[in-house]
Amino acid sequence: MMLTPAGRLDAKPALLTLGSVALAVALVSVSSGAYPLSVADILRVIAGKEAADPVASMVFLEVRMPRFLLGFLVGAVLAVCGAVLQGLFRNPLADPGLIGVSAGASLAAIAVIVLGNTWLGGWLALTGDWALPIAAFIGGSLTVLLAWRIANRSGQTAVATLLLAGIAINAVAGAGTGLLTFYASDEELRSLTFWTMGSLGHAGWDDLVLGAPFMVLALVLAPWLARPLDAFLLGESVVGHLGYRTDTVKKVAIVVVGLGVGAAVAVSGLIGFVGLVVPHLVRQALGASHRIVLPFSALLGGTLLVAADSLARVVVAPAELPIGLMMALIGGPFFLALLLRTRVM
């Protein structure tokens, strides 16, 4: 079902449409929230007028802007990582959450929080402010590698094995997280709560500084994978015949997913389903070529996450829903529909 020979929509008008939607969502996102901020206020802040209310300017510049950028980046990266994994495993169900990459990254991050003062003190001294994102990156990469090793037998990806391995990896990582939670002090528990549900509620420029380099690197590396991943669709043996080095392609893919998911988890906690739903939507509308799927996934993923986050912060105002919860609410039913369709076909 991934080998749709021709796209159903033309790429150019689709790009134009999606681009305008993304722009509209961006505008809605920066102008919606519990604090009333009109478009006029925002324009005044952007124009740098002194007349602007200082609180309005702070809400816009220090809260909504970094939150919007971080949300877009995280959504884009998760969607691209989902597309890369689905291409690599030749399976539309491969998703950073399902095969355990997110859980691996978050386990590593939680280990840094809970054990940072004791066993992992050396790690903290070595990496400083970067301890969390680097640990999450290593955790994510190791999990991709593990899933890959388990699911691959002599060049064939056993899909059932992959998904079952994902369940096992998720269970083990979940148990590790649970164990750390058990030993965590009250203080540490506080910082753990947001990992499990995912949140952009604290997002600031410092999170961007920390996470953006990793995520941007993943997004920059990803296009290089587009043609080899197209070759993967024809079977792993074909990749070599078409002149790509299979091993290198796999390694780059693993690094991209490790970097992207690791950094996304490090700054926003666990946000599921973006990586599953978005590439799938893109493939259905525009065909399976990764030269189309990767950039469109980035755009659609970012837009979707920003839209969900805007919703999450107004539906129960003045409180906020965790964004991970919001995405699961949207993604869960979609996943079920996906399963039913696959069964019919």
Partner: protein, 282 residues
């Protein structure tokens, strides 16, 4: 006596708004115990929002809730346009508190109060922040007198009973309190010890450990009244302390909040402690 005093304070505050005027500000509190203090000082009209741990008294239920105090939203709090946010050390994330303060909200973070002394000090601090020093002093004096009486009565018992303290935050999440908890601090106020002194913090309950503990009394703190169902915990019913009625089931915010109701919590716990050693254990 206590309610009379509160009534007088309330009446005075209503009759002479000019004289007693606490600054006419918009106030958000994020911590159930602090909300209770504001209410006891008769200042609930200042409140424009509270967090989800603020559930007492019921009169505040209609106020906008800004979420859990450990996950305070920046915009959500700011949208209520408060002049002041009073919260405790438990508040998080730190970044949002800093942003609120930067946006012109006076953010007051009070230390956790895990003793009667600190609890009363917090009443005085809140009174000071809201321009009600005299009222706060009167309330503190009243509470202090009652606490002293309870301290004397607890001392007179002549030994420190061992109390099994259970925290029920849902039927399937039943935790035992260990050392370095508010539960231990509360028991200390009534001259009693926690049964699981080896345990650090709150840990999931082991049924066998409950059976082996043989406490002098049992205290069950529920986060929602009536939440703990004893039928799911037959082990507790096998304990002598349970059979002999040395047990208490009460709201966790009352027992562990260390707010103005601390004295009521102390009285309730003190009441179920056996007067002589070994009464509960045959």
């Amino acid at each position: 006596m206590r309610s009379q005093l509160a009534g007088i304070l309330l009446a005075v505050a209503m009759v002479w708004p000019g004289v007693c005027a606490a600054a006419d500000i918009r106030l958000v509190t994020a911590d159930g115990a602090i909300t209770e203090i504001v209410y006891r000082l008769g200042l609930e009209s200042l409140l424009v929002g509270v967090d989800t741990t603020s559930g007492f008294p019921e009169a505040i239920a209609a106020l906008p809730k800004v979420g859990y105090l450990r996950a305070l939203p920046f915009e959500g709090v700011l949208a209520l346009q408060p002049d002041m946010l009073i919260t405790s050390e438990q508040a998080a994330p730190q970044k949002n508190l800093e942003r609120l303060s930067k946006a012109g909200v006076q953010v007051e973070i009070l230390p956790s109060a895990w003793s009667s002394e600190a609890s009363l000090h917090r009443v005085q601090t809140v009174g000071g922040l809201l321009g009600k020093e005299a009222e706060a002093r009167a309330l503190v004096a009243d509470l202090q007198a009652r606490i002293d009486t309870l301290h004397r009565s607890a001392e007179a018992r002549g030994y420190r009973p061992k109390v099994l303290f259970v925290l029920a935050a849902g039927n399937h999440s039943v935790m035992l309190a260990g050392k370095n908890t508010a539960a231990e601090a509360l028991l200390d106020e009534v001259n009693a010890d926690i049964a699981f002194a080896d345990l650090e913090g709150y840990k999931p309950a082991s049924r066998e450990a409950i059976l082996a503990s043989q406490p002098d009394a049992i205290v069950i703190a529920e986060s929602v009244p009536g939440q703990f169902n004893i039928d799911n915990w037959p082990e507790l019913q096998l304990l002598d302390a349970w059979k002999s009625g040395h047990r208490l089931q009460a709201d966790s915010m009352l027992l562990l909040g260390f707010g103005p109701r601390l004295v009521d919590a102390m009285a309730a716990v003190n009441e179920v402690l056996p007067g002589r050693q070994g009464v509960a254990n045959r």
